[in-house]
């Protein structure tokens, strides 16, 4: 009677404007999703409608394990971040959302202040969706102001000047070991955007931190890529890390660039090369001298699996360069080597001309910013004459002269063309 009454009252009313009952039900479900999540028992088309209307602000405890729809997670991601490059996250919006969510929490985690449960609660929700952790900021615990001021004066002694307890960062051990799929771990112990509040102790990777991290990494058996950059990792810490990484079943890539590793650390890394399945090793911008380079070269000569080695911005010098060159005479796995800015000169070039004549696996060499000299360039050119494998050879600012650089560039270019044609003829191999 109510309807009839309305019909009589409102001549413009029509039944068409009344939504269907299913519509209403779905709407209700959407409104009360947080309290009563109903999704799986709906028909696919209704599921679709519900998912399209769900709010992105719903608590993760409700949505994490219930919703697998990519569109919903896409909405979540785009609502939260402007830049979303899904290709870095295995083309999965859900994974991206959880990884970045976890990263954000870790970045903002302040030890002794933030509740650790904040992270622990998240673990059951996100453990199935996190493959990679990329944390470029670890905040130090909050300290007393006077202490800060006092430490401000002495830069060098900050390590010892501070109270041991207060400077440790968040211990990743609990989190990492609880993530079964974790394959990549990118860490930077430092503070971003500190501006004028800069203090040295903000960037302090303590021994305890290192211990915690090493133990955690050791427990993480699926880890393939481990990057620890710009974290003041010195010889002791690197040795500690390496000791825990020895015989790791999966580790393929290790990046310790922009640290303070010296020869001892390099020796430890060399040991790691021969006792693991490392394929990529990045030690750029450290303080490795010829002793460390020789240790690495020994490991190279014996090993193995390493395909890429980056020693940019170290102090290898001719002795180390020659050792590496000699190792490359016998090595058959290394494809790419970067020896840029290593204060190399003619003797290394002489040796590498031999390497170029003999080695057939090396495809990329970088000698930029060294002092090879004209003669060194000529020798390299001679060695390259019969080489068909090398496709990249960087000699910029290596003082070899424009003419030689041009000729070498021609050869390398021809090699690259040949390799491209070869890969065309053999489709199974990956094209350039």
């Amino acid at each position: 009677s109510y309807y009839t009454h309305r019909v009589i009252e409102d001549p413009e009313w029509s039944l068409a404007t009344v939504p269907h009952l299913t519509e209403l039900c779905l709407q209700h479900i959407v409104h009360n999703f947080e309290k009563n999540p109903i999704l799986d028992c709906l028909l696919p088309e209704h599921q679709r409608k519900v998912l399209d209307r769900l709010s992105t602000g719903l608590p993760l405890a409700v949505t994490a394990n219930l919703i697998s729809d990519e569109d919903y997670w896409k909405r979540c991601c785009t609502d939260r971040w402007q830049v979303c490059d899904i290709s870095n996250y295995g083309d999965s919006w859900k994974r991206m959302f959880f990884e970045r969510h976890l990263e954000n929490i870790l970045k903002c985690f302040i030890p002794n202040t933030t509740d650790p449960n904040q992270v622990l609660e998240l673990i059951p929700l996100c453990k199935d969706y996190v493959w990679k952790l990329e944390v470029d900021q670890f905040l130090p615990p909050v300290k007393v102001d006077q202490k800060e001021e006092r430490d401000d004066v002495s830069d060098t002694g900050s390590d010892f000047g501070l109270g041991e307890i207060s400077v440790h960062h968040y211990d990743l051990g609990v989190l990492i070991t609880a993530l079964p799929h974790l394959e990549e771990l990118h860490l930077t112990y430092g503070v971003k955007d500190c501006g004028m509040n800069f203090e040295w102790n903000l960037f302090n990777f303590t021994h305890q931190d290192c211990c915690n991290l090493a133990v955690a990494v050791k427990m993480c058996h699926n880890l393939k890529v481990f990057k620890l950059t710009r974290s003041k990792v010195d010889d002791d810490k690197s040795r500690l890390l390496v000791r825990n990484l020895l015989d790791h079943p999966c580790l393929v890539e290790l990046n310790l660039s922009h640290n303070l590793i010296r020869d001892k650390g390099a020796r430890a890394v060399g040991k790691l090369i021969s006792r693991s399945r490392l394929e990529t090793l990045d030690l750029c911008n450290n303080q490795i001298h010829h002793l460390g380079a020789q240790a690495l070269a020994r490991a190279l000569a014996e090993n193995s699996t390493l395909t890429s080695l980056n020693l940019r911005l170290n102090c290898v010098e001719d002795e180390g360069g020659e050792a590496i060159g000699r190792a490359l005479l016998t090595n058959t796995t290394l494809k790419s080597i970067h020896l840029g800015s290593n204060n190399l000169s003619e003797p290394t070039a002489t040796l590498f001309s031999q390497v170029l004549a003999q080695n057939t696996t090396l495809t990329s060499i970088n000698f930029s910013c060294n002092h090879l000299g004209l003669d060194g360039g000529k020798q390299l050119l001679d060695g390259l004459a019969d080489n068909k494998a090398l496709t990249e050879f960087d000699l910029r600012l290596a003082e070899v002269g424009q003419e030689i650089e041009y000729l070498i560039h021609q050869i390398v270019w021809a090699n690259r063309e040949a390799a491209r044609l070869g890969s065309l003829q053999h489709p199974p191999t990956k094209p350039l």
Binding site: N343, C369, R396, P431, L432
Partner: protein, 719 residues
């Protein structure tokens, strides 16, 4: 960018394979893009490299500065410690000071030196702080520189991206254009082809249509023509048929009339026939009765016939039994006849021999008498007459008993084995060679082959003891048993066997060399088989006549008289006739029997052998009838062994001798008589004397002595 580049490459690869014409464009674009990419990357990374270089330079400078600073600090520390020590040493000196002015002075000095030291330290600190400030400034500058670099980097990257995008788009456009062009060309080509094809098709279609129209018209014309023709034909046919109808109606009328006539006639006939029928029924009944009677008669006759047949069958059976019995009897008789013939012959021979012996004895006696007459009575020299029949023993024309086949075989074999060894071989050869003109070697070879190859014919238990014997004997024994198995028991059979072998072989040779052979014989081309057949026929014809001579000739050769040789001339002529064909097998080039052929030949021989046997049998039958024509002559000759003149001489001599004998006998009787008489005389004398002398006599009234004639002699003596 790199991802783009990577994407572009496989696409390029695919297109390259698909279309060759756009390949160039793509390749060019790819190269240019690669170069551009490389240059752009170089441009961007140049900044990093430059920064790296700066950093290394900075580090080098830093290291140097650090070294200087450390040295400076060390120097300073050294000098300051030195100074400090100086000051501290002075403190000890000050303790010893007693004079205040000096002490003050010293203290002042110390103060000054301390101040100096502090000043130096402060100066150092100032320097370092200055350096620090400189470093700060440198740091700020470096940061600024780096931010500039970053900006530049960003700018270049953006520029690069822009350029790359632009060029990629451009190149894509170009490639697409190239493809479009190609496609359009292809389309044009195809369309042109299509249109041409369509045009050709429509032209042909049109042609077909025209042709069809033409055909339709033609057919219509033909149809009309046919219609007209048919109509005309129809009309003419109609007229003709109408005429026919009229004629037929007319005929019908006529026929009706005839029908009427016929009906009347037939009715009359019917009546007649009915009458006849009645008569016929009567006749039929009569006939039926007759038929029944005859049937019974026939049955009787049949039973009689059966009886008769039965009877005849029985008779026949009995007759057949009789016949069988008679044939058996006949055979028996024949056998007996044969037996009697043989016994007769034997008896004949015996009788002959007996008679001959008797005759010979008589003859001998006669001759002896003749000889005695000649030598003793006539005093003439006597010559022994020499006649052919004198030495003849046994019935005339009697042939030597045939040698047994095995014996002959043995001979033949010994010929081969004992060649030149024994003296009698020559004789044997003499006997063997002329027989069949078969070279003994061939014969021997054949026999040996037969003995070797027909081992299956020999009884197995015979084989074992054979092994113990020598080769020659073994062959003989084997042959013996083989002949027994083949029923070869006479010489002739063996000859036939050997002959057959040769013929068979010759036939084979002839088959192979027929033309040559035919020319050589000159009697017309005879194929091997027909030749053999012909030969056999010829053989059959010649057989009865030539067999005796053939058989007698070998055996009688050494005992033959020249006279008989003359008589035998006819048969020898026959033999001459025989010779050419007979010598044929021997004259053939030495035929080599192959061991494998032996069995085949033997089989053929056994097949033919029975026929030959039959012939032989008939020949033997005929052989039994002896030629008795010469017997009389023989006996006559035997009787007339003493010639006529001699007889006459004998007659005369007999007469003379008779007379002489008579004389002699008379004389003898006379002599005897005389003797007797003398004796009687003497006896009588004696008796007389006795009597005379005896008392009796004296007693007797008249004594005999009184009447006695003492001169009486015997009558024999008187003759």
């Amino acid at each position: 960018r790199e991802a783009l580049g990577e994407d572009a490459e496989p696409k390029v690869a695919e297109e390259e394979e698909e279309q060759r014409r756009s390949h160039k464009q793509i390749e060019e674009s790819r190269q240019r893009l690669a170069k551009l990419l490389f240059d752009g990357t170089q441009l961007v990374t140049n900044i990093q490299v430059a920064a790296d270089l700066r950093e290394t330079q900075r580090r080098a400078e830093e290291a140097e500065l650090k070294l200087q600073r450390v040295e400076k600090l060390e120097n300073e520390a050294k000098s300051s410690t030195y100074k400090f020590e100086e000051i501290t040493s002075k403190w000890a000196l000050a303790k010893e000071m007693t004079i205040p002015q000096e002490l003050w002075q010293l203290l002042n000095q110390q103060q000054q030196q301390c101040a100096l030291l502090l000043e130096e330290k402060n100066k150092l600190i100032d320097d370092l702080q200055q350096e620090l400030k400189n470093k700060d400034e440198q740091y700020v500058q470096a940061i600024k520189k780096q931010s500039d670099d970053i900006h530049l980097l960003l700018e270049r990257m953006e520029e690069q991206i822009r350029i790359m995008l632009k060029t990629y788009r451009h190149k894509l456009l170009q490639i697409e254009k190239a493809f479009e062009l190609e496609r359009r060309e292809l389309l044009d080509n195809n369309r042109k082809k299509w249109e041409e094809a369509i045009q050709a098709h429509s032209a042909r279609e049109l042609e077909y249509l025209h042709a069809r129209m033409r055909k339709v018209e033609e057919f219509e014309k033909q149809l009309n023509q046919l219609r007209v023709e048919d109509e005309e034909e129809y009309n003419s046919m109609k007229i003709q048929l109408e005429n026919d109808v009229q004629n037929l109606e007319r005929q019908l009328q006529q026929m009706k009339a005839a029908y009427q006539l016929n009906q009347e006639k037939l009715e009359y006939n019917l009546q007649v026939l009915k009458k006849q029928d009645e008569e016929n029924t009567i006749i039929r009944s009569q006939q039926k009765r007759k038929l029944n009677r005859l049937h019974s008669l026939l049955n009787n006759l049949r039973t009689k016939l059966a009886k008769q047949e039965k009877q005849f069958r029985e008779e026949n059976q009995s007759l057949a039994a009789d016949c069988e019995r008679i044939t058996g009897q006949c055979k028996e008789v024949q056998r007996r006849i044969r037996h009697f013939a043989v016994s007769d012959a034997e008896k004949f021979t015996e009788v002959w021999l007996m008679n001959e012996e008797e005759a010979k004895g008589l003859m001998r006696k006669a001759l002896d008498a003749d000889r005695i007459i000649h030598t003793q009575q006539l005093g003439l020299p006597w010559e022994e007459p020499c006649h052919w029949f004198l030495n003849n023993v046994g019935p005339l024309g009697h042939y030597k008993v045939k040698r047994m086949a095995t014996k002959l075989a043995a001979e033949v074999l010994t010929v081969g084995s004992g060649e030149g060894g024994k003296g009698n071989t020559a004789k044997v050869e003499d006997r063997v060679t002329p027989l069949r003109n078969i070279s003994k070697k061939t014969a021997k070879r054949i026999l040996e082959l037969v003995s070797d190859e027909s081992g299956f014919l020999i009884e197995s238990k015979l084989l074992r003891p054979l092994r113990a014997l020598g080769r020659h004997e073994r062959t003989l024994m084997k042959l013996d048993s083989i002949f027994a198995a083949l029923e070869i028991d006479s010489e002739d059979d063996l000859y036939q066997l050997v002959d057959f072998f040769l013929k068979y072989k010759a036939q084979e040779v002839a088959v192979s060399q027929l033309p040559k052979f035919a020319k050589g014989r000159g009697c017309g081309p005879l194929p091997g088989a027909s030749w053999l057949l012909g030969r056999r026929r010829w053989w059959k014809a010649q057989c009865p006549a030539c067999w005796p001579s053939l058989q007698s000739s070998p055996s009688g050769e050494d005992v033959r008289d020249p006279a008989e040789a003359r008589e035998d001339g006819g048969s020898s002529a026959q033999r001459d006739e025989l010779k050419p064909p007979r010598s044929l097998p021997a004259s053939l080039p030495s035929v080599y029997m192959h061991a494998d052929d032996v069995l085949r030949i033997l089989k053929a021989f056994v097949r033919d052998f029975d026929k030959l046997r039959e012939k032989d049998g008939s020949a033997k039958e005929i052989l039994q009838v002896r030629d008795s024509s010469k017997d009389g002559e023989y006996w006559e000759a035997l009787a007339h062994v003493i010639p006529e003149p001699t007889l006459k001489l004998w007659d005369a001599l007999a007469v003379a001798l008779e007379e002489y004998y008579e004389v002699l006998t008379r004389r003898a009787s006379l002599l005897a008589e005389a003797a007797i008489l003398q004796q009687q005389n003497s006896e009588l004398c004696l008796l007389l004397e006795e009597y005379v002398s005896s008392g009796v006599n004296s007693n007797l009234p008249s004594p005999p002595t009184l009447w006695m004639d003492p001169n009486l002699s015997c009558p024999g003596e008187a003759q």
